[in-house]
Amino acid sequence: MKELVIISGKGGTGKTSLTAAFAAFSENGVICDGDVDAADLHLLTAPVVKQQIDFNGGGIAVINPEKCIECGQCIELCRFEAISESFKVDGIACEGCGVCVDLCPEKAIDFPVKTCGQWFVSDTRFGPMVHARLGIAEENSGRLVALVRKEAKSLAEEIKADLLITDGPPGVGCPVIAAISGADALLIVTEPTVSGVHDLDRVMALAAHFKIPSMVCVNKFDLNPDQARIIEDIAKKRGSSVVGRIPFDPLFTKSMVCGQTVVEFDPDSYLTGLLKEIWNGVISSPELNRKKGVELTRMV
């Protein structure tokens, strides 16, 4: 089984629309939404949830006023300014380090484990999907991303799937690191804008840091030819290749409004043909096939 992770650095470049189109092309695949913070893939794949499991984060400090003698040691110890002068813990500021809990001389601080999200195993018209929802303002998004990927992988192995397609989060920080580590290959979706180029460079540096081979797809490539050329240069410099050039096309939004992938919404369109070509290129790429194992090219 191979895993392809789709990321972008910059948000809103078209990761999820492309992931969904790939899901529609794939055979014997598993889909994973590795963006747990603002997950959108389910809006195109309409998963039917079969299994829902709570995700427990770390503990959060809660001061028991009956035991507290207001000695102030917790306030002094807390590096995150999460405890007020009136000995109330700000649940949002609390880092969950538990230092106050362990060092309170009166043992007056509880540390209940907080349920901070759910993850799901679902059925979709494209095959099984593993996804999650992190509670609003919660921490541990990297841990939840790592968990959904691990579960998606073991499901893919169990049902002898050939390919795991993971939609990743934007950025370069903890959720992205959790989404890409150990992946076979990355497809980075960017756009020819100064922001797209800047963020591509950083996310490619991250891929190189973790030694994961990557390919680049330029969305809205006709918007700015100069920036599109810079993207080609950056990809080349990093030993990567541009495997897709998609012109601006309102079909993406139109199909999204109908809750469909472009492939289903307009199967005969130029865009669907182009996406199929990109899919074929990615599936048969040396990046995704460098390790022996499954023969993916039959999905071409």
Binding site: S8, G9, K10, G11, G12, T13, D37, A38, D40, L43, G58, L77, R79, F80, I92, E95, G96, C97, G98, V99, D102, L103, L134, I136, A137, E138, E139, S141, P169, P170, G171, V172, G173, C174, P175, V176, I177, E191, P192, T193, V194, S195, H198, D199, R202, V203, A205, L206, H209, F210, K220, L223, N224, D226, Q227, P250, T253, M256, V257, G259
Partner: protein, 284 residues
């Protein structure tokens, strides 16, 4: 007045709104780029940077000669950043949250803190506007310490505009916490609406007044407009889809500078924010 610009979904136009608003308000305004994973505001503001400072977090260093391998440090650490195996203590600095627990609990004072650099801050000016940004080093996981550091720099302007990262988890919360108003930017698509609802949930949790900018307001559907109406979420500005705007953005140009009428529109946006805040304080 501290104003933060946020959105659940990425790529909806946060940076466009933050940079154009800062430029349009001009003198007395300061822009802080808190999207430290992928900071972009400088590409539009072209600032002169006069100060660069490292952002470091405290991590433990073990004085082996004092350590008796009692394991109290690894027991208190909830982040698995310190482990004791027989007569060896291992630290994993990239997992450390800098809580200081290991140092506080060590009975032999065998742990001291050293600083580990994880990013940097830049301060400067863009014309008559104050500019600062935080940059997380590539390969580092934790954005909040860099966001906190850039927010704690001197703020000596009457209006501060914070460009926040996308999402609804800890980096966004760190960026918008303590601000007077959150301006949310979305697009009227199913993804935009879904993530806007999450972002509204986050802002409500912090109890900060908020308003909405709808970007590319004529694509997609009317569902975002209907949601805003139902929620009593004031729509303070709409930016239509326009190839000219998209091209200006792609080149790093400010539409308030390059296209007629927009400077005035962004100044009006600020006026509407003041009206919303005025109404809210009256209600109190």
């Amino acid at each position: 007045m501290i104003l933060s610009i946020a959105s659940g979904k990425g790529g909806t136009g946060k940076t466009t709104v933050a940079t154009n608003l800062a430029f349009s308000l001009g003198s007395g305004t300061q822009l802080i780029d808190c999207d430290v994973e992928e900071p972009n505001a400088h590409l539009f503001m072209d600032p002169d940077i006069h100060t660069t400072k490292p952002v470091a977090v405290p991590v433990p260093r073990i004085k082996e000669e004092l350590c008796d391998y009692c394991k109290l440090c690894s027991e208190i650490c909830r982040f698995n950043a310190i482990a004791v195996f027989g007569n060896t203590v291992l630290t994993f600095p990239e997992l450390c949250h800098g809580c200081g627990g290991c140092m506080a609990v060590c009975p032999r004072d065998a742990i001291v803190e050293t600083q580990r650099e994880m990013g940097r801050l830049e301060e400067g000016t863009a014309g008559n506007i104050g500019f600062s940004r935080g940059i997380l080093n590539v390969g580092e996981a934790m954005a909040p310490p860099v966001i906190k550091a850039v927010k704690s720099l001197d703020r000596n302007h009457s209006i501060t505009i914070i460009d926040a990262p996308p999402g609804t988890s800890c980096p966004v919360i760190t960026a918008i916490k303590g601000t007077d108003f959150v301006l949310m930017v979305t697009e009227p698509t199913p993804f935009g609406l879904h993530d806007l609802k999450l972002a509204v949930g986050a802002v409500k949790l912090l109890n900060i007044p908020y308003g909405l900018v709808i970007n590319r307001s004529d694509i997609g559907t009317t569902a975002v407009h209907e949601y805003a109406k139902k929620e009593g979420l004031p729509v303070l500005m709409e930016i239509p889809f326009d190839r000219g705007i998209a091209e200006a953005y792609s080149k790093g140009e400010l539409i308030a500078k390059a296209m007629p009428g927009w400077k005035e529109k962004f100044r009006q946006l600020y006026g509407r924010i003041e009206v919303v805040l005025g109404q809210r304080s009256k209600e109190k």
